[in-house]
Amino acid sequence: MSESIIPESELEEVELYHAKSWWTEKVFTQDAKLIAIQYGLTAFAIGFVALVLSWFMRIQIAFPELSIISEGTYYQFITMHGMIMVVYLLTALFLGAFGNYMIPLMVGARDMVFPYLNMVSYWTYLVAVLVLFVSFFTPGGPTGAGWTLYPPQAILGGTPGQESGIILMLVSLCIFIVGFTMGGLNYVITILQARTRGMTLMRMPLTVWGIFTATVLALFAFPALFVSAVMMLFDKILLTSFFMPALVEFGENLTYGGGSPILFQHLFWFFGHPEVYIVALPAFGIVSDLISIHARKNIFGFRMMVWAIVGIGALSFIVWAHHMYVSGMNPYFGFFFATTTLIIAVPTALKVYNWILTLWKGNINLTIPMLFCLGFIVTFLNGGLTGLFLGNVIVDVPLSDTYFVVAHFHMVMGIAPVLVILGAIYHWFPLITGKMLHEGMGRFHFWVTFVGSYLIYFPMHYLGFIGVPRRYYEMGQTEALYTSSAADLNVFITLAALAVGFAQLVFIFNVFWSAKRGIIAEKNPWNATSLEWQTPEQPPIHGNFGKELPVVYRWAYDYSVPGAEDDYIPQDVPNEDVKLADGYSELGVEKT
C-alpha cells in the first residue's frame, strides 16, 4: 500500500499561536493537545458523578428496606446518570478529548485549523457542565424526567425538579450544543482541509474516520435536540403549547392546549439515535486500530471498514422511530423503521466480522489495550444481538420499558464504548504523558471491569423477560409480580456494580500515580505505524512535528509486511528506506 508519487505541498504553513503568559499557555490554551486533556479531565469528573449516582440507585433497588434514597431522588438520579453518561461523558470524551488529541497528530497537522474557536469550545462545554451540576443544589433539585425528557410530564408538577432542574437541564444542553458545534467544525475542517502531504483520505487511520463521521453526525443531529430544548423551554417558561396538549391536573384545567407530545419524541430520537452512533463510531475506529496494532496485522478489509462507517452514519438518520414503537404512532411507521433498523445491522455485523478476521492468525499480544478490545467485541456483539430483538415491533412491545432494554443499551452504548475508551487510554497514555500505566493495576482493572459488567448486565436480560419494569425505585412485595429470584438477582447485580465501581477507583489512582511515578515509556512502545508516534518528541510538543511536516507514503496498517526487517513500517517511511529482512531483494520479493 505504498505509493511513490507524492504531490507538492499546496498548503502554506500557518503561524502557530504562541502564548505570552502562563495563563494563555496552560489555562486558556489554544493547543489542541492541552484542550483535549482539559476536555478529558472535565468529562471524567462529571462522569464520576454519574457513576456515584448509579451506586445509590443500585443500592436502592437491591435493598429497598434501607430507603437510602426516596422515589423522587431515584428519578432524579437516573435522569442525571443517563444524560451525563451519554452526552457529557461519552460524547465529550470521544469527540472533545480523543478528537482534539488524535486528529491533528494522526493527519499530520500542527494544530486544529481554528485554535481560538477550539479553546472557546472547551470553555463553553465547561459552562454547560457547571450549569448541569448546579441543578443538584437548586430548590427542587435536578430534573427527574428521565434522560429522554418526554413532555408533558417533564415540565409538570409531580415530576421532581420541575421547579428549576428541568430548566437548567435544557439550558445546559443548549450550551453544550453551541460549544460542541465550535469544536466539531474544527475537527471536520482539519480532517478535510489540513492533512499533510501524502495523507489521502484513504490512508487515514480508522480512528480518524470514526471521529470524523461521528462529528458530522453530531453536527446534523444536535440541531434536533437544540430546537426541541428551545421549544420545551418556551413551554415551561412562556407557557406556549408546542408539546403540551390540553391537560387536567388535580382537577384543574391547565392553560396548555393543542400541542403534540409525539413531536418531541420524534425530534428527540432524530437526535437520539444518531447519538448512539456518535459514541459508537469513534469506538469502532479506535478499536480497529488497536486490534491491528496489538495483533501485528493489517486491518482486514480497510476500505470496507471505511464504507461501513460512512454507511452506518448515513443510515442512522432513518431509524429513529424504533424507539417509539409503543408511543402510539402510526403502525405502518413501525414496519418501515423495523426494516431500516435491520438494514443498519448489516454494515455493523460486517465490521465485527472484519475485526475477527483481523485477529485470525494474527500475532495477538494480550496487552491491556488488546484485552479491552476483545472485551469490546464480545460486549458489543451481545448488545447488538439484543438490538435485533428490540428492533422488531412485535418483540419490542412486550420488552419495552423492562430491564431487557436497560441491559441492551448498557451493553451496546454503555459498557462497549467505555471499554474502548479505557483500552485507548492504556494505549495512548505513553504518548500523552511519556509514562507507562502500571501493568498489574491495569490487568486487575480490566478483569474486574469486564467480568463485573457482564455480571451486572447479563442477568438483567432475564429480569426483563420476566417483566421487571425499568425506572422503578422499588419493586413491591407481591411474589406474583416480583419473584424472589428477581429480588436475589438484584442483590447480586448490586454487589457486582459496587465491585466494578471500586475497580474504577483503582484505575483513577493508577492514572495519577503512573503519571508521576510510572516507568518512562520508550519511544513508540507498541511499534505503531501511525503518525502520532512518529513525532520528534514524546509526548509531542506545541506544533506536534519538528521543522518539517511528515510526508506520508503508505496507509497506517503496514504490519508484518513480508520482506521488511521490522514487523511494522511507519507511515512516513518511503519504500526505499525500509530495512529489508535477510533473503529479500525488495519488499515482498525473495532473492532468487
Binding site: 507524492i6 484513504m202 446534523f220 440541531p223 406556549t240
Partner: protein, 234 residues
C-alpha cells in the same frame, strides 16, 4: 523518490472518489474559513428545517383555527388595509442587501478597500433596517394582543411559532449585522492589507473573510424566503 504534482486520474466514480480523497485537501482551493462556513450553514439548515417542520406539526395538531394571515399581517395605509405590505418591503430590503453583499465581495477581491468597506456598511444598514421593521411588526402584533401563549385571532400556536422562528431568524440577522459592521471597520482601516492581527484570535485576516461573511448573509436571506413563504403566504 519522485515528487510531482500531477497524478493520472482514473475515469468515472473511481476517479471522482480518489480525487476527492486525494491528499491535503478535499476541496482544492477552498480556504479553511469558507469550508467551515459551509459546514456550519449545513448544520444551521437542519436547525431551521426542524423549526419549520415543528411549525407545520403545530399547525396540524392544534384544535383551534389558524388565523387568516392576510388579515393579521396587513397594514392600514390611508384607511385601506393592504395585506403583506410591510413584509414585501422587508423582503425587498433583505434581498437588496444580498446584492450589495455580493458587490462587496467582488470589491474586496479587487482590493478596492474603500468601496468594499462602503458596500459592507450599506449591507449592514439594510440589515439593520430589516431588523427595525421586524421590531415594528412585532410591536404591532403585540399591541393587538398576540402573545407567545395566547392569540385573540385563533390558535395560540400561531403566536408561539411566529415569535420563536422570526425571533431566531432575527437573531441571525442581528449577528450578521454586527459582523458586517466589524468587518467594514477592519476593511476601512486596511487590516487586510497590513496584516494586522485580530483582537481575539491573533490571526491575520484576509479579504476572503468578506466572502465567508457573504455566505452567511446569503444563507440568512434564503432562510427568510422560506419563512416568508411558510408564514405569510400559507
Amino acid at each position: 523518490m519522485s515528487t510531482t504534482s500531477k497524478i493520472p486520474l482514473k475515469d468515472g466514480v473511481e476517479g471522482f472518489v480518489s480525487d476527492w480523497s486525494s491528499d491535503q485537501r478535499a476541496f482544492k482551493g477552498v480556504p479553511w474559513g469558507k469550508a467551515m462556513m459551509w459546514i456550519f450553514l449545513l448544520s444551521d439548515t437542519f436547525i431551521f428545517s426542524i423549526f419549520l417542520i415543528s411549525y407545520m406539526t403545530a399547525r396540524w395538531s392544534t384544535v383551534e383555527p389558524w388565523p387568516n394571515t392576510s388579515e393579521v399581517f396587513s397594514l392600514t395605509v390611508n384607511g385601506v388595509s393592504v395585506p403583506l405590505l410591510l413584509i414585501a418591503i422587508m423582503t425587498f430590503i433583505l434581498i437588496t442587501s444580498s446584492g450589495t453583499m455580493a458587490m462587496a465581495v467582488r470589491s474586496g477581491y479587487q482590493k478596492k478597500r474603500k468601496q468594499a468597506g462602503a458596500l459592507l456598511l450599506l449591507t449592514a444598514i439594510l440589515g439593520m433596517s430589516f431588523v427595525g421593521m421586524q421590531m415594528f411588526e412585532w410591536s404591532k402584533l403585540i399591541s393587538e394582543g398576540i402573545r407567545p401563549w395566547e392569540n385573540p385571532f385563533g390558535a395560540r400556536q400561531f403566536g408561539s411559532v411566529f415569535f420563536m422562528v422570526t425571533g431566531f431568524h432575527g437573531v441571525h440577522v442581528s449577528v450578521g449585522v454586527l459582523f458586517l459592521f466589524l468587518t467594514s471597520r477592519k476593511v476601512f482601516r486596511g487590516d487586510y492589507d497590513t496584516g494586522r492581527r485580530g483582537f481575539f484570535t491573533w490571526q491575520k485576516g484576509r479579504y476572503e473573510i468578506i466572502e465567508t461573511l457573504g455566505l452567511y448573509w446569503h444563507f440568512v436571506d434564503l432562510v427568510w424566503v422560506f419563512i416568508f413563504a411558510f408564514f405569510y403566504l400559507w
